[in-house]
Symmetry: C2
Amino acid sequence: MAERAVAEPAVAADPLGTVLRPVRGGNGFEEAVERLLQVVRLGLVPVGGRLPAERDLAGRLAISRVTLREALRVLHEQGLIESRRGRQGGTFVRAAPPPGAGLPVDAAGLEDLLRFREVLEVGAAGLCARAGLTGADAALLRARLRDTGDAAIDGYRRADTLFHLALAELSGSPSLARQYAAVRARLNELLDGIPMLIRNIEHSQAQHAALTAAVLTPDAPRAEALARAHTSATASLLRGFLS
Amino acid sequence: MAERAVAEPAVAADPLGTVLRPVRGGNGFEEAVERLLQVVRLGLVPVGGRLPAERDLAGRLAISRVTLREALRVLHEQGLIESRRGRQGGTFVRAAPPPGAGLPVDAAGLEDLLRFREVLEVGAAGLCARAGLTGADAALLRARLRDTGDAAIDGYRRADTLFHLALAELSGSPSLARQYAAVRARLNELLDGIPMLIRNIEHSQAQHAALTAAVLTPDAPRAEALARAHTSATASLLRGFLS
DNA sequence: CTTCAATGGTCCGTACCCATACCTTAAGTC
DNA sequence: GACTTAAGGTATGGGTACGGACCATTGAAG
C-alpha cells in the first residue's frame, strides 16, 4: 500500500459538497469551446476534417448560433479551425490543440482522472461481455480494432481512442459513454505531452485484440481483467511523467 | 437478434452525438431545483432538517441568489420546503418529493441507469479495497454501516444511500462520487414507488456487512463480487416492477 | 433592555444569451 | 449562364441571470 502516497488529502467525505457544486461549468460559450475541443482531442473529427455546420452544431449543443460562433471565434484565433463559405464550405479542423491547453492538472486531479477512467473502462468491458454483443455491434468493435492495426504511428492515438469509445458506447449505458468521452478527452490532453514508443503501441495493440476476443467470447471476468491491465499501463506511465 | 430484448435501440454508436449534446441541462433555476431535490432524495438533509443558508447555497451552486430563490419558490409551492426568517431561521425540508416527480423513465433510460449504477458501485468498492482505507476513512465506513443497522424501517433508505455514497466518496475519485450521487438520486426516486419488505432489508443489511468486511480486509475481487450481487438484487426488482 | 448578528426578502443596472431574420459567398443543377 | 442550395456572416430586440446593495425579522449576547 505504499502507492497512493500521491494524493491523500484525508477525503473527509463531504456529501453535501458532492451534490452542491456549481451547476454551470463556465461562461456558456466556454462550455461550447470545451465540447469542441473534446471532439478534436477524441479524434471524432480528424485534423483536416469538417465539423458539422454551424446551425447543426448550435442545435446539438442547444445554444444559439451567436454563442456558438463566439466559441468558434476563440478556436479560430488560436489557429485550430478555419471556416470557408459557400456550398461546400464549413468549419475545418486545422490543427490539434496543444497539450496542456486546458486547466493544469494537480496530483489529486490526476488521481481522480486515472481512477475514474479505470472504473469506466473495466465497467464498459464487463457490460459488453455480460450483455453479449449482437452481430452489428460486434462487427463495429472488430472494425475499430482493425483500425488500430491499420493506423500509422501518428494516427494511433486517434484509433486507440475510437476503439475504447466504441466499447463504452456499446455498453448499453449512454451515461457511461458520455462520462468516458469526457474522461478520455482529458486523458488524451495529458498523453499528447508524452512521447509514444513503438514498443508500447505493439503491446497495446495485442491487449486490444485480447480484450476484443474476451468481450466477444464472451468471458466477462477475463475482459475486465484485461481492461484493468490495459489501463494500469497508461496509469503508471502518467503517474511517472507528472510527478 | 432476439437476445437483449429489453432495451435495444440498435446502439449504432454515434460518437459525435455522445459529445455534441446540450451543454445546459435546463433553464438555470431548473438545474438548481434538480440539485436541491437530489439533496433531499439522497437524504443528505433529512425531512425536518435545515438546508444551508441562501447565500451559502447560491455560492455553492455558483448561481445568483435571485435565481436560487426562484428555485426555492418552486419547491415551496410544492410544499417540500419552508422558510423562516430571523437569526435561527433558514430553509427547512418539510416533506420528501413524491416518487415519479421527475422525468418519466422509459425502458432504455432504466437500463442506462441500472448498468451505470452497477459500474459505479462495483468500481467504488474495488477502488476502496485496492487502495486500502486509512484509519479515519475505515472508521467512517464502519459508522455508516452501523447507521444502517440502527435505522428504523422508514429511515432505512436514507441510511442505505449514505452508506453507498460514503463508499463512493472514499474511492478517491470525486468524479465517481459525483456521478454516483446523481445516479443514486434517480434510483431512489424509482425505489420510493416500491414497497420495502423487512426480509429485503435484512438481506441487504447482511450484504452491507460482508461488503464492508471485504473492503477493509482488503479483498478487492470479493468486494467487487459482493457489490455486483448487491446491485443486481435491486436491478431485478426494478426491472420487474417497471415493465 | 439594547445591541448585534444571521437569516430571509426585495430592488436595480449591467452583461450575457437567445430567437429570428436577412445578407454574402460559392458550388452545384438545369 | 441563370437558378438553386448550402454554407458562413451580420444585425436587432427581448429575456434571463448576475452582482451588489439594501430592507425586514428574529433570537442571542452583552
